[in-house]
């Protein structure tokens, strides 16, 4: 690097940092001598988490060399976390898959084959399964990290082409309860407000979320809000003291699974002390109990009688006092704007939907909604669980555009948009995720496509489902960029795919914001974008099944260039035809518009003009949400036009405290909970290959409370065996004031067979959302030895 280039880069680095905090420096970009840099910057989204940070990838001579944040983006304002800063190193990694790999039996070794052979095998296996065993013997299991174009195109092929609703994805494991909560409380999926409420909030309530590690860049905004305004109250409710808890004014620490009592007790205080918004309730709210039976407010008050703060504190245990509960409830109700955040702590629960309802209840009761600084904001874990899976029809019971499979009129709308015969899409939902993998175990699924996810590691009680996945009765195709535990144990056919920035497509993040990432570099030779794979496979399927309707499904996309034109055509079909008039109307968010935005467009955005302003900041508010104006039923300022509530009202739900499925007993006396840490993403197939991130956290630990550790003779670093009714792990101990006494907490990213905590977790699930209770089960722990030298492991 020449001296002048070095100086140029140093000044550029300084200017970048200065820009974010508004500091003037004695030079600017014009004064720099070395003007023409050969680095071209390409704008896109970060590949990881649901925040939706906007970044620019620096490319020099076709090679990615740098990354920077986009300061104008309304999600991250230029900031990026360490995973975001480094994820692009995956692109040139030596382990990238570059050729299709095939083995007839899962006991054989993989052999490289050509793309033509591979697509032929894939088509053949699915066609044969359908012919010999029926349409529901095939299935698709996708991902909240797939581009919207990919999820949409896959589900079109499976529903319209192969005539099965066995379309699922890993958001079933993370966001399904949040979806259920939004639909039953507000009548429509996804938050009413968004991140902009942070800078206006006066009370921030963080429950069941470790934002500091799982959504660091949004957490930075919460921290900044508090630093700039010391009067802002931050309340954190978590059985574990996490990095998020460090900034809380009040941390409520309690036994896992007792938070339903806490939320009801807060409601009790709000009702008893008349802190609720009577006018808001009168105008906009009905009260419901089980099976959506309407009740009057007096009956709800009666139900809340028993949830006194004293009752709740007793159930919750820990150090929570009734007075703390009162204080939290009062601050929540009386602040100028209360904003709640939560993620898996509430969603990955047997009563996940109820937990979501109870948080929404607090906002509904107090009218802390629809105004600046007030919202109940479910943080989404993955970058495209919202955009692709929840909005694009990626779960077994929903079609694109927030339509229910079960409604004939809505199926017909989709069939018409696709130009396929009425009645083509099957009328019943398919298998939900846990049922799907149970069906694999029962040999009912003969051919399965697993896209961009690793269920061998990420399913709860994974040993049980790995049995079925490892058998040759289920032919499995995996599309991925690296080998994973799933490709190695369960795949017959591996298809190498293009990575982020190596292909074009849209991600929709937590706050209803769709953002585009354009192709900046070519994928490694041999790797292909998924949209091409689906089209080529689809054409072969049409031939093998002699089915012109399958050909019709791919017809609008034939002959299009795969790096840009093809995904654009798919996005156009989805946004223009499938979201038209739906509550997630994205017609204004064409590629042309999205490419002009530093960030993206929040739906609903039915017109380009509106989309160019950024879209809808607050749903349901006349004057801010175009659909509140077009779909409103009266003159009131708020219009709840969501598809799930025909009465166009918000629903306040009577939901009791209910225990998790498996709580500690004499044999298994500890609560086990699991979660993420900042350096690693999910199953670490990507972050484990970036040496800076791996070095920060080379393997998983089990966090043990110091009081428990002392009692059991466990010292920091000791090897600890964790056992449940389902399986065993051995992990090094981190003795740390993190989990509450009687609870242990394990990080779930590790691929090593001894440290894969999902062998130990339980696959109980929410009866409504079908989302598993990863967060709570019972285990016992035992010291097995002193510290051992451990090596990181990646398959």
């Amino acid at each position: 690097m020449t001296q002048s280039r070095r100086e140029f880069l140093k000044r550029t680095a300084a200017l970048s940092a200065a820009a974010y905090v508004g500091v003037s420096l004695p030079f600017d970009e014009k004064g720099l001598v070395y003007a023409a840099s050969e680095t071209v910057w390409h704008r896109g989204s970060c590949r990881l988490c649901g925040v939706g940070c906007r970044v620019e990838l620096g490319v020099k001579n076709g090679t990615p060399v740098a990354l920077r944040g986009v300061p104008e983006s309304r999600t991250n304002f230029g900031y990026v976390c360490m995973k975001g800063m480094h994820f692009w190193k995956v692109m040139n990694h030596a382990d990238r898959l570059t050729t299709p790999l095939y083995r007839a039996s899962k006991k054989d070794k993989f052999k490289p084959i050509s793309w033509d052979e591979a697509l032929d095998i894939a088509a053949d296996k699915f066609a044969t399964a359908v012919k010999e065993h029926g349409n529901d013997s095939v299935a698709y299991y996708g991902s909240g990290q797939a581009l919207t174009e990919e999820t949409y195109f896959f589900q079109k092929m499976f529903r319209g082409g192969l005539q099965t609703n066995n379309v699922e994805g890993n958001p079933r494991l993370c966001m399904a309860s949040a979806v259920g909560g939004y639909l039953t409380s507000f009548g429509a999926d996804e938050p009413i407000g968004g991140y902009a409420d942070i800078e206006k909030a006066d009370c921030i309530f963080i429950i069941g979320s470790n934002m500091a590690e799982a959504h660091p860049v949004v957490f930075r905004r919460v921290m900044r809000r508090k630093l700039d305004n010391p009067d802002v109250t931050v309340i954190n409710a978590d059985p574990r003291i996490s990095l998020t808890s460090r900034i809380a004014d009040i941390h409520l620490q309690f036994h896992p699974g007792t938070d339903l009592a806490l939320l009801n007790a807060m409601a009790h205080v709000i009702v008893k002390e008349k802190l609720y918004d009577e006018a808001f309730l009168k105008d906009y709210v009905v009260v419901k109990k089980d099976k959506a039976v309407s009740i009057d407010f007096a009956e709800y008050e009666q139900f809340l009688e028993k949830y006194t703060p004293e009752y709740a504190a007793k159930i919750m245990g820990g150090k929570v006092t009734p007075d703390q509960i009162r204080e939290v409830a009062r601050r929540f109700a009386t602040s100028k704007g209360t904003l709640s955040f939560w993620t898996m702590g509430l969603n990955q629960r047997k009563q996940g939907v109820w937990a979501n309802n109870l948080v929404h209840n607090l906002h509904i009761l107090t009218g802390q909604l629809l105004k600046e600084g007030a919202d109940s904001l479910s943080l989404t874990g993955q970058p495209n669980a919202c955009g692709g899976v929840r909005e694009g029809g990626g779960l077994c019971h929903i079609l694109p555009g927030h339509r229910l499979v079960a409604k004939e009129k809505l199926r017909n709308q989709v069939e018409e948009a696709w130009g396929i015969p009425k009645g083509r899409i099957p009328p019943k939902p398919g298998y939900h995720t846990m049922a799907m993998f149970t069906a694999v175990n029962e040999k009912k699924i003969k051919a399965m496509w697993v896209h961009c996810t690793s269920p061998v590691q990420s399913l709860p009680n994974c040993n049980l489902y790995n049995e079925g996945m490892a058998k040759d009765d289920c032919f499995m195709v995996c599309t991925d960029i690296f080998p994973t535990l799933t490709t190695e144990l369960a795949a017959n056919l591996i298809l190498p795919t293009a990575f982020h920035f190596e292909k074009t497509g849209v991600y929709g993040c937590t706050e209803r914001r769709s953002q585009i990432t354009r192709k900046a570099i070519d994928p490694p030779k041999g790797a292909k974008p998924e949209v091409w794979i689906i089209r080529e496979w689809g054409r072969k399927l049409a031939e093998k099944l002699n089915d012109p309707v399958i050909a019709q499904c791919i017809k609008p996309f034939e002959g299009l260039e795969e790096g840009y034109e093809l995904p654009k055509a798919i996005w156009d079909e989805y946004s223009q035809k499938l979201t038209k008039g739906r509550d997630n109307d994205l017609r204004g968010a064409s590629y042309e518009v999205l490419e002009q935005m530093y960030d993206g467009v929040q739906w609903p955005a039915p017109t380009e003009a509106f989309a160019l302003t950024g879209g809808t900041v607050k749903k349901f508010v006349r004057g801010m949400d175009p659909m509140a104006d077009s779909h409103g039923k009266d003159d009131k300022p708020y219009q709840f036009y969501g598809p799930a509530h025909p009465d166009q009202k918000l629903w306040l739900w009577q939901r009791p405290q209910a225990d998790p499925e498996e709580i500690p007993d004499a044999e298994y006396p500890f609560y086990l909970s699991t979660g993420r840490i900042i350096d690693h993403w999910h199953t670490m197939s990507m972050t484990g290959r970036v040496k800076e991130l791996l070095r920060a956290n080379p393997y998983s630990y089990i966090e043990v409370n110091p009081a428990d550790a002392k009692r059991m003779g466990i010292k920091p670093g000791d090897m600890v065996e964790i056992t449940s009714r389902r399986g065993t792990n051995i992990m090094p101990a981190k003795v740390y004031e993190g989990p509450i006494e009687g609870m242990v907490f394990a990080y779930w990213h590790d691929q090593h067979p001894d440290r894969m905590i999902n062998k130990v977790t339980k696959d109980a699930y929410d009866p409504g959302s079908k989302e598993p209770e990863f967060k709570i089960c019972a285990c016992r722990i035992k010291r097995v030895s002193g510290p051992k030298a451990l090596k990181p492991y990646i398959v």
Partner: protein, 104 residues
């Protein structure tokens, strides 16, 4: 050469002390600061590993609240990796086509 741009956050009162401590670290230059306690810092190092070590030292300083990276350029290293000259070795590569995956 790896170059990173950072915003180092400290409490407003501690700024001058922190600026001195930062500039005493090898490869660290301070370019500006504001009243809120934000310090515009640039760090140069021989490799991205070395940069990481310096960042760790910065984070460990008393009264440093946060070190936020806003820019990083490692084009020398990236070009070496792309040309095969420098292969970052974390594992010894994929030893076998199929890992043995045992259920307990």
């Amino acid at each position: 050469m790896v170059i990173g741009g950072f915003v180092v956050q400290t409490l407003p009162g501690e700024r001058n002390v922190i600026v001195e401590k930062l500039t005493s670290l090898q490869g660290v230059e301070v370019y500006g600061a504001d009243k809120k306690g934000n310090i515009v810092t640039v760090v140069e190092a021989d490799s991205s590993d070395a940069l990481g070590e310096v960042v760790k030292l910065m984070e460990k300083l008393d009264d440093v609240l946060n070190v936020g990276m806003t820019y990083m350029n490692m084009e020398d290293e990236a070009e070496q990796i792309a040309s095969g000259e420098n292969t970052p070795r974390v594992f010894t590569g994929r030893k076998q086509k199929q890992a043995s995956f045992e259920a307990p």
